[in-house]
């Protein structure tokens, strides 16, 4: 039976939803506002009205090259996401459709690797990268980002795959589909919303990763996170310039998220209502 919602309650919930959304979005909005202030204005205290200067954007562009770290961010986030999906789809498939007694333990173990602080393995990873000549390379960092996001990707895909009835795959098998065909032609199309939202979320996570991308790069593979970090200054004012650099760094991913929000929401709520 459909539940009736009163007009007043609907308006109330809408306002509440907007307030929560604004609260979550506020740091980004304030960074943007600060980027339009002069340095003394930026440090003077809380104010939502900037003087509207674009000087910080000009300074940021003049002082540092934006294009190279931007391209590195694009290559690293897309590359690591594709690589992660290549490993995660078969892994999640096997765990969702051919579970064993140990599947839950394996999933928990994978997730537990995310619980360790990254800095705890900095030196061993650094030495491995040095020995394999991977320091400051896109390949090395792509592998690193793949590895750190893989547990989340596997978990998300596993959750989505579990929602797909196993009978459909059995039917495909009875029709003579090989394992590869089963994954490519039956499973993947059915799990597209889930895969798409995993892909988008992973791109966002990889784009924003700011520990390994700073620790393992210098000039060649440094992405936008390193670009932002370079504007913090021990001497003189920097908040407005830092905000301009941050706005420039997050703008592409924000636009991507905006355009793909339908897909993202569809994927995240996939299987929530049966």
């Amino acid at each position: 039976m459909a539940r009736t919602v009163s007009r007043g309650s609907k308006i109330g919930w809408t306002i509440a939803a907007w307030l929560v959304a604004l609260l979550i979005f506020f740091p980004i909005l304030y960074a943007f506002i600060t980027s339009l202030k002069t340095e003394p204005e930026a440090i003077a205290g809380f104010s939502l009205i900037p003087s509207g200067t674009f000087e910080n954007y000009v300074t940021v562009q003049t002082q540092r090259d934006y294009f190279k770290p931007f391209m590195n961010s694009v290559v690293l986030s897309i590359g690591s996401t594709i690589l992660a999906l290549l490993f995660a789809i078969p892994a999640a498939w096997s765990m969702a459709f051919s579970p064993t007694k140990r599947t839950k333990d394996i999933l928990m173990w994978m997730l537990s690797t995310k619980m360790m602080p990254a800095v705890a393995v900095l030196i061993p990873i650094f030495i491995l990268f040095r020995n394999f000549g991977l320091l400051d390379t896109r390949i090395g960092l792509t592998v690193m980002l793949t590895l750190i996001n893989l547990p989340i990707v596997v978990w998300m895909l596993y959750t989505y795959f579990r929602e797909i009835p196993g009978e459909i795959l059995e039917a495909a098998r009875m029709d003579g589909a090989s394992l590869w065909k089963e994954i490519v032609y039956v499973l993947t199309p059915m799990a597209v919303p889930g895969i798409a939202s995993t892909l988008l979320l992973n791109i966002i996570l990889a784009w924003n990763e700011a520990f390994w991308t700073i620790q393992l790069t210098t000039t060649n593979a440094a992405p936008l996170t390193a670009f932002i970090a370079s504007f913090s200054s021990p001497q003189g004012l920097f908040w407005a310039k830092l905000s301009a650099a941050s706005t420039m760094a997050i703008a592409p991913i924000l636009i991507l998220g905006w355009f793909s929000q339908k897909q993202l929401v569809r994927g995240l709520t996939f299987g929530a209502v049966k």
């Binding site: 440090i43 003077a44 390193a226």
Partner: protein
Amino acid sequence: MNLKTFLLGACSAVALCGFANAETLTIATVNNGDMIRMQGLTSEFTKANPDIQVEWVTLEENVLRERVTTDIAASGGQYDIVTIGNYEVPIWAKQQWLLPLDGLGEAYDIDDLLPAIRGGLSVDGKLYAAPFYGESAMIMYRKDLFEKAGLTMPDSPTWEFIGEAARKITDRNADISGICLRGKAGWGENMAFVSALTNSFGGRWFDENWAPQFDQPEWKESLQFYADLMKDAGPSGASSNGFNENLTLFQQGKCGMWIDATVAASFVSNPKDSTVADKVGFALFPSKEGVANHGNWLWSWNLAIPASSQKAEAAQKFIAWATSKEYTDLVASKEGWANVPPGTRTSLYNNEEYKKAAAFAVPTLAAMDAADITKPTIKPVPYTGGQFVAIPEFQALGTTVGQLFSAVIAGQSSVDDALTAAQATATRDMTRAGYIK
């Protein structure tokens, strides 16, 4: 293929080979005005040295320390030149993480480096880093407010005078605080000021046997003086003010005095950023009556070569250029004398053009000459360093103690409680680190 095409191709190939053979130096640095300027002028160096290319990596100060430490400790070899402070230089040199700079060339004129700065960068008589910018601390004050209050700033004032003057100038209705001092917690923030203040009160961090001294009367006296002064004449929210926040307050005309790094003199005197540019006077870091000590604040940003670099020769060539007298002349010719990196060479302070362009030149030199990091306080100490203690443990310890003292300024803790906690923390840390047997 005709001859013309062949020659063109051959020329391109030769040019490409030349480029491919060029050595690329990777330099890790911090984001400050002098370094940004140097990055802009790097083309002058590469023009004169076509076989060397330069790549800059700019990082936040703490991230830079972390990155460079990891790289050197694990022999990553990612950096050929690193920008480090005079706190790190002796520590890293003793651990053999840095190469001695013994190939700077005869024209470099090493004896021209300010003795105090050079001393802080040398271990066993060898120079391990070359300074490109140096600073001490001094008083910057508003001449107009002093005149209005009927006060005259002595060249070498005492803390007693500063305390009285700050309280007299304070005008809460006009939003003017008599004095602005660092309160933000951190070994390089409030502890830089408080350590120098306590040095000038005759206090010390450790005695000759590395026993912490927070239970001694000098610390109680200096911290009480600082807390009372900030309460009576400091700006609101002083416990979160660091260098940048106080700079803004002073530039906006909200501070009667500001005691901080000499580099700030050029910022507060610059009419583009400062509303009080033409009203600023300078005086030496205060001392306590009867104690002949001006705090011994001395800091420099320096260029050094990590032991893991494979391009030491080219790196020394760059360092020799970037910290030379010729580089100073280059900056002066492009951006004016007021913008040359200060505090490293005696010759700069003998330069009449510089002294004319920078009213703060003479007081800056006086402040730097008054600082001696080998003898930070009047009592004997087992360490070097003025506003810091040059031991690896100081970063963590200094920040912990800084948090305790910042809480005093915020009114969350008493002077006695903070000193008791600091004594306990320092004793525990120094025992664990093996200094106290």
